[in-house]
């Protein structure tokens, strides 16, 4: 049977890793964190090495940098779970984020990699750090750096580890079995077909090559009538005026090899162009090979054209979360009636009849 990984190696490696995590979890008295870390590293490392050896046969090795960043991600994740100081846990989580964004980068998802660093490491984790500093008891004079009991002691470490690694073992084992039946749904050419929707990208490239030297650079909105891009044959058809075609022709015939290459590269001969310059028809330009649909193009197109409603809803969710956080974290101040009166007198507010007084105190209580 053609398995991705020998299940025995997978399960034994995961079990050793589980044992390591179990040892490293905070507990009373003896706390063999270093031994636990080494054990866990050994267990997960064994699985990754087995995967690498298997990938060597199948020519399915990831980029070599994977073997740097994946261990960093896993080890710092173990430290998040096992470190006794919440601040260090949060800092190790930032390391996990950085390592996994490097994994994104290795997979070719550049936009998400940098968005992850900016949003997660830059915003969410900083919020966590603030709250950790906000919600920690100040150390007393006698015991500086003492741990709170709830940080120093894990709750049911044995059962938690067994549960967690049962989940991982089942997940990874089942995926290893079922994965070979999943075939990729598309290929590279599907992605390059998106080029037909991105006239601006092609026009920018032509602009950079000074193809529109004398002509006005066409607006991308006009793509429907004036320009069409055939993504399969990587050509762009431009409707041109006789003068513009004549200009292009002149430059192609004279010195400008770059333009000659673009023009004659795909299907357009000088004779065609000459005919076009006479009649005022259209010219076909080859799209330069360096104009490619990038990760940013596909993600942006899919986000805006494919999921506009979800994008709007995400905005509303963020707004509501912000309002909710403000309402929840607001400090409720209880003010007694006498204090309100004293405060009102202090501020020079007229304390006359009681009904007027009520409105003043009502305003004060909600602040």
């Amino acid at each position: 049977m053609d398995l991705l990984i020998n299940p025995v190696i997978l399960y034994v490696g995961l079990a050793i890793g589980a044992l390591g995590v179990l040892l490293a979890l905070p507990r009373e008295r003896v706390n063999p964190q270093l031994i636990g870390l080494i054990l866990a590293a050994g267990g997960f490392g064994a699985v990754i090495i087995a995967l690498a050896l298997r990938g060597l046969d199948a020519a399915g090795l990831p980029n070599p940098h994977y073997y740097i960043f994946a261990p960093i991600a896993i080890l710092s994740a173990i430290r998040v779970v096992t470190h006794q100081q919440p601040v260090y846990s949060a800092l190790y989580f930032i390391l996990t984020i950085l390592a996994s964004s490097a994994l994104y980068l290795l997979m070719g998802a550049e936009f998400m990699a940098f968005a992850l660093i900016i949003i997660y490491a830059g915003a969410i984790l900083i919020t966590y750090l603030f709250v950790i500093m906000l919600a920690t008891q100040a150390p007393s004079e006698t015991e500086v750096g003492a741990l709170s009991p709830y940080d120093a002691l894990a709750r049911e470490p044995l059962w938690a580890t067994i549960m967690g690694f049962a989940i991982v073992a089942v997940l990874t084992g089942m995926i290893a079995q079922g994965l070979p039946e999943i075939r990729p749904a598309g290929d590279e050419t599907d992605q390059q077909m998106l080029l037909a929707e991105l006239p601006g990208k092609v026009l920018d490239d032509l602009d950079a090559k000074r193809v529109f030297r004398e002509m006005e650079r066409p607006e991308t909105e006009a793509i429907g009538d004036l320009y069409t891009i055939d993504a399969a044959s990587r050509t762009m058809t431009l409707a041109v005026t006789p003068e513009a075609a004549g200009d292009l022709l002149e430059r192609a015939e004279a010195e400008d090899r770059q333009i000659a290459k673009l023009l004659i590269g795909d299907g357009t001969t000088l004779a065609d162009l000459r005919a076009a310059s006479g009649a005022g028809g259209s010219v076909r330009l080859a799209v330069a090979p360096e104009v490619r649909v990038t990760n940013l193009d596909t993600v942006g197109w899919s986000l805006i054209a494919g999921h506009p409603l979800a994008l709007e809803i995400a905005g509303v969710i963020l707004l509501m979360a912000m309002l909710g956080a403000v309402v929840l974290a607001r400090k409720q101040i209880e003010i007694g009636e006498d204090e309100k009166l004293a405060r009102a007198a202090e501020l020079g507010i007229h304390t006359g009849p009681t009904d007027q007084m009520d409105s003043v105190s009502g305003g004060g209580a909600s602040s």
Binding site: Y66, A77, V131, S148, I167, L179, D187, A321
Partner: protein
């Protein structure tokens, strides 16, 4: 080798099955560690941090499959996962601050009476 050329190689070649499994394994381990942390730690903030780690594992899986199938929807979904994670962090941390003000402790079992 520059970063751009690294990424270009990956895109042009597509992702073999064995390579996909490498990334899925890391995601699986991160998820499991998140589960363990959520169950075993008693500090409310660390518990929420561990849920974020599970989000992270889901993100790696989504991106890996998105690259395997040449379908950008997986990557776009990670954007929404990030959005929800941000909203969740804001609300959860506001709640944690509120709970801390009530009892002056972050111990989750201090609120054990909520189980009724």
């Amino acid at each position: 080798m520059t970063i751009a050329s690294l990424a270009q190689d990956t895109i042009a070649a597509g992702m073999p099955l064995a390579e996909l499994y490498h990334y899925l394994f890391v995601a699986g381990v991160l998820f499991g560690l998140g589960v363990i942390g959520f169950l075993a730690r008693r500090n409310l903030i660390i518990m929420f941090l561990c849920t974020e780690m599970m989000f992270q594992a889901a993100g790696i899986t989504l991106i890996a499959f998105s690259k395997y199938h040449f379908n950008p929807d997986g990557e776009v979904f990670v954007i929404f996962v990030l959005t929800i994670a941000a909203a969740e962090a804001a609300l959860a941390l506001a709640l944690v601050v509120l709970l801390f003000r009530r009892k002056e402790t972050l111990d989750a079992s201090a609120w054990a009476m909520l189980k009724g």
